[in-house]
Amino acid sequence: MRRNAKRGHGWLQLPFWLTYVFLYVPIAVVVLMSFNQNKSAYAWGGFSLRWYSALIGNEKIRDGLINTLIVAFGATVLSTVLGTLLAVGLARYNKSRLVDALSTMPAILPDLVLAIGLLVFYAAVKMTLGLHSVLIAHTVFGMAFVTAVVRARISHADTSMEEASRDLGATPVTTFMRITLPTLAPGILAGALLAFTLSIDEFVIAFFTAAPTEPTLPIVIYSMVRFGVSPEINALATLLLAVSFTVVIAAQRMTKLSEALS
C-alpha cells in the first residue's frame, strides 16, 4: 500500500525533478569544467586547479574585480540607507497604493530600460562616465530591492513599539535610531545583501554606464568570452557562484531570524 502510494508520488514528482535538473545542469557543468585539466573548455581531461591559479595571475580580471567590489560596496551602502528611508517614509506617510507600487518599480523594470534611461540622463546633465556613474546606477535599482524588503518587514512590525518609545520620553529621532532601526535591522540587512549580490554580477546597466577604461568584472568576462570560452572563465564563474550562494543563504537566514524575533 505504502509502496504504491510512494510510486504514485514518484510519478508526480518527475516534472519537478526534470525542471530542477534543467535549472542546475548548466551550473553543474561550469563548476565541473572549472577543475578541468584539459585546455579545451568542452572535453574533460582530469582534475586540476590550474585555471584558478591562472585566474589570480590575470591582471584584467583582478582590476575588473576590484572595480566591481568598489561599485558593489558603494551601491549597497547608498541603496540600503536610501531604500530604508524610503520604506519607512512609505509606511508612515504614504497612503497611495500607486506610490507604494512605483517605489519598487526599478527592481522589476527590464535592465535595458533602466540602462538606457540612465545613460540618457547622464548625457543630459553632462556627467562623465566612470565607476561613479555605475555606482549611482546600481544604487537606483539596489534601492528598489532594499525598499521592497524593508517595506515588507515594516508591515509585520508592531507599531506600538515606536509609540511605546515616545511614550517613555524618546524624541522621534531617538525613537527612530533606538527602536525603529533595530527592529527593522534584519530586513535592512537582507536588503543590503540582496543589493550587493545583484550589483556584483550586474552587466547590462554597467555596460551602458561604465567608462571603457574602468570595466567591471562582468564586462571583463564578456570581453574575454567573445574570443571563446576558456576554462579560466569557468573558474571565475565558480568563484562568483560560491560568493552569491553564501550571500543569498545568509540573507535568507537573516530574514528567517527576523521573523522568529518579531
Partner: protein, 639 residues
C-alpha cells in the same frame, strides 16, 4: 482632587464619531476604568490621553493645564500597551531603563531605580533575559515596570489582562491593585471585561458608541444602573419593560411587578438582579387535602383553567410555611402573627400573636353542587404596630351550596375572634403593622366571619391577616350578622375616604366586572377606629369579603379562575406576601462559582428570567415556581 479633566472631547474617523463629546474627571490617586464593548471609543480616549491621537474638539487638562499642547514624549503620562510593546532587541533591564535614559538621569540612579522596580514586580531574576524568553505574565510585568519606573502622574493601561490566561489574570489583578496602592499613581485602565473593571477600579466610566453612559463606583453601577445599556452590560440582569404605576411596574402580559417608586405613567425598564430573585415552589404542602383539591389550588393560583373540581364535602386545611430565605426575612419583620382557626361548628378562635412569622392558609370549602368555582385573593396591608401587615384573603366560593356545608376554619389570631361558620376557610396571614395608624379595622375579621356566616350560600377560602383585639371585638359584634349587614355596619363607621377609594378601585381592577359590582356593593368595608394607647397599636386593615348571591356566579364564574386584589392602605412598596407576581418554569439549572444559576421561562416574557442562589439549589428543571423579588432590590430606569 481632579487630576485629569476631559471636557467635551470629540474624535471622528470619517463619518464615525469614535468619541462624541466625552466629559470625564479623573481624580488624583484613583483607579479609574473605562469600560465598554469594542468600538465604544475607550481606546481612542486612552490614546488621546497618551498623546498619540488628537481630538477634533474639546479640551483635556492635567492639573488644570492644557495637556493637548504637550507632545506625547513630554507628557507625565505612561501607557502600558495591550501588546506590551516590549523592545525585542533589549533585555528586560534595558527595556525598563529606556524611559529613564531618555530623562538623562545619572547612570547610577537609573540602575537603582531599575533594580527597585524589578524587585517590586518580582522579576529581579529575569533582568537579563530578552522579552521572547519570558512568559506572558512576566512580559506583562516588564511592561508595567517599564511604565511605572518613570513615576508618571497618570498610568494608562490598555486591556492589561486580556492577553493572559485565567489563572495568571486573577494573580495580575491583585498585583495591579497592590502596585497601584504601593506606588500611589493614578491608574486608568481600559477594558471590555466588566468583571475586570469591577474588580480593579474605584470608579468606572461605562462607554458606548463614543459616549459615556455612566460614571460610578462599581457597587453603584451594579446596584443602580442609570441607563438600559449599563443595566445590560454590568452583570446579567432581568429586564422588564413596562409602565410605572403607584404599586409597581405594569408589564404587558405579566401584570404588576414589584418596583421602586417612579413617576406614574412613565414607561420604564425594571432591572432585577438574578441574586435578588426569590423562587417559591408552587405546589404547597397540603395536609388533609385530597389530591383534587390540591390540584385545584395549584392551578387556580396559577391563574390557569380550573382543572379539578372540588367535591362536595372536601375538607382541606393547608398550611404554608415560608419557603425561601427572602421570605423568612420578610416574615421576620412581622412581629405579630396570627392565624385563625375556625372550627367546624363555625367558631373561630383567635389566639395571641407569637413573635415569629407564620403563614397559615386555611382552605375553606363547602359542599357544593355546582362545579364552577371562583377564587379571590385579597391582599391588604394593614397598619398597626411598627410593621405593616399584609392580608391575603383567598376565597373560593362555590355557589348553590348545600344548606349545611361542612366547614372548618382555622385561624390563629392575635385577638380573640370567634366566628361561626359552616365553612372551611383558609387564611393566610402575613402582616406588618404600622404604629402611626392607630386605627383598627374590624372588617377583616368581621368580613371573614360574615362570610363564614353566609357560608350557607358561599364557600370561601380566606387568607386573612389577623387584626388587633379590637378587631376581634368588632368581629364578635358582627358575628351572626348577615354579610350585607356587616358591610353596611362597617361602612357606617368612620371611613377614610382615600383608603376606601383605594380599596374599591383595587377591587374593581382585580375582579371581573359583575362580580366586582356585587362585591363592592356587598362586601368592601374599610373602617378606621382608634386604638387604645396601651394596647397594641391598632391595625388598619381593609378587608374585602367576597360574597355572591346564589344565582349570579353560576354562569360567570365558570370562566374565571382567579382574581387577585391588592389593597394597600399606605403607599408603601412592600414585597409580595408569599411568592411573587410571576409564575415560571425552571428550564435549566447550573452550578458554578459556588452559585446556582437558574434559568426560568415565564409565559408572556420574551427573555429568560435568570435567578442565582448561593450554594446548590435543589430545583429540578420543569419545576413550576413563583418568581418574586423585593421592590427595593429592583432598579427602575426611565426609558
Amino acid at each position: 482632587m481632579t487630576l485629569i479633566s476631559i471636557d467635551g472631547v470629540t474624535r471622528r474617523f470619517g463619518d464615525v464619531a469614535a468619541l462624541d463629546s466625552v466629559s470625564l474627571e479623573i481624580r488624583q490617586g484613583e483607579f479609574f476604568a473605562l469600560l465598554g464593548p469594542s468600538g465604544c471609543g475607550k481606546t481612542t480616549l486612552l490614546r488621546i490621553l497618551a498623546g498619540f491621537e488628537e481630538p477634533d474638539d474639546g479640551a483635556v487638562r492635567l492639573d488644570g493645564d492644557d495637556l493637548l499642547k504637550i507632545p506625547a514624549h513630554r507628557r507625565p503620562i505612561n501607557l502600558m500597551f495591550q501588546s506590551y510593546a516590549l523592545f525585542p532587541h533589549m533585555t528586560v533591564e534595558r527595556n525598563i531603563a529606556y524611559g529613564l535614559e531618555r530623562e538623562k538621569l545619572p547612570k547610577k540612579e537609573i540602575r537603582e531605580r531599575v533594580a527597585e522596580v524589578l524587585e517590586t514586580v518580582g522579576l529581579a531574576a529575569q533582568a537579563r533575559r530578552k522579552p521572547h524568553q519570558l512568559s506572558g505574565g512576566q512580559r506583562q510585568r516588564v511592561a508595567l515596570a517599564r511604565a511605572i519606573v518613570k513615576r508618571p502622574r497618570l498610568l494608562l493601561l490598555d486591556e492589561p489582562l486580556s492577553a493572559l490566561d485565567k489563572k495568571v489574570r486573577a494573580e495580575m489583578q491583585l498585583e495591579l491593585k497592590r502596585l497601584q496602592h504601593e506606588v500611589g499613581i493614578t491608574f486608568v485602565v481600559v477594558t471590555h471585561d466588566q468583571e475586570e473593571a469591577m474588580s480593579l477600579a474605584d470608579r468606572i466610566a461605562v462607554m458606548q458608541g463614543g459616549k459615556v453612559e455612566q460614571v460610578d463606583a462599581p457597587v453603584e453601577l451594579y446596584d443602580r444602573p442609570r441607563t438600559p445599556f449599563v443595566a445590560g452590560f454590568i452583570g446579567a440582569n432581568n429586564i422588564f419593560s413596562g409602565r410605572v404605576t403607584e404599586n409597581g411596574l405594569d408589564v404587558e402580559g405579566l401584570g404588576l411587578l414589584p418596583a421602586p417608586k417612579g413617576v406614574d405613567g412613565d414607561s420604564a425598564l425594571l432591572v432585577v438582579r438574578p441574586e435578588n430573585i426569590r423562587l417559591t415552589e408552587i405546589a404547597p404542602k397540603t395536609t388533609e387535602t385530597q389530591d383534587e383539591a390540591k390540584d385545584a389550588a395549584v392551578t387556580t393560583e396559577e391563574g390557569a383553567e380550573p382543572k379539578a373540581e372540588i367535591e362536595a364535602g372536601t375538607e382541606a386545611v393547608t398550611e404554608e410555611e415560608p419557603k425561601s430565605e427572602a421570605k423568612s426575612e420578610e416574615a421576620a419583620e412581622v412581629v405579630a402573627e396570627e392565624g385563625a382557626k375556625a372550627k367546624e361548628d363555625g367558631e373561630a378562635k383567635s389566639e395571641g400573636a407569637e413573635p415569629e412569622a407564620k403563614e397559615i392558609a386555611v382552605v375553606t370549602e363547602a359542599d357544593a353542587e355546582v362545579k364552577p368555582k371562583r377564587k379571590r385573593k385579597t391582599k391588604s396591608k394593614a397598619k398597626a404596630e411598627p410593621e405593616v401587615r399584609e392580608i391575603a384573603v383567598v376565597t373560593e366560593p362555590e355557589v348553590e351550596v348545600k344548606a349545611e356545608p361542612e366547614a372548618e376554619v382555622k385561624a390563629e389570631a392575635e385577638a380573640e375572634a370567634k366566628a361561626e361558620a359552616d365553612v372551611k376557610a383558609e387564611v393566610a396571614t402575613e402582616s406588618e403593622v404600622k404604629a402611626e395608624e392607630k386605627d383598627a379595622t374590624a372588617d377583616t375579621v368581621a368580613g371573614a366571619e360574615a362570610v363564614v356566616d353566609g357560608a350557607a350560600e358561599v364557600v370561601t377560602e380566606v387568607a386573612a391577616e389577623v387584626v388587633a383585639e379590637e378587631n376581634a371585638a368588632a368581629a364578635k359584634a358582627d358575628r351572626g350578622d348577615d354579610l350585607r349587614a356587616a358591610v353596611k355596619t362597617a361602612m357606617t363607621g368612620e371611613v377614610d375616604a382615600e383608603a376606601m377609594a383605594e380599596v374599591v378601585s383595587r377591587a374593581v381592577a382585580g375582579v371581573v366586572a359583575k362580580v366586582v359590582a356585587e362585591v363592592v356593593a356587598e362586601v368592601v368595608a374599610v373602617n378606621e377606629s382608634k386604638a387604645k394607647a396601651e394596647e397594641r397599636r391598632a391595625a388598619d386593615a381593609e378587608a374585602e369579603t367576597p360574597s355572591e348571591t346564589a344565582p349570579a356566579p353560576l354562569a360567570e364564574t365558570a370562566s374565571e379562575t382567579k382574581t387577585e386584589t391588592e389593597a394597600v392602605s399606605e403607599a408603601d412598596p412592600e414585597p409580595e406576601p408569599e411568592d411573587g407576581p410571576l409564575r415560571g418554569t425552571v428550564v435549566d439549572v447550573s452550578f458554578y462559582g459556588g452559585t446556582s444559576h437558574i434559568v426560568l421561562r415565564v409565559e408572556g416574557h420574551e427573555d429568560h428570567v435568570l435567578a442565582a442562589a448561593q450554594g446548590s439549589a435543589r430545583v429540578e428543571p420543569g419545576t413550576e415556581v413563583a418568581i418574586g423579588w423585593d421592590a427595593a432590590d429592583a432598579v427602575l430606569i426611565p426609558a
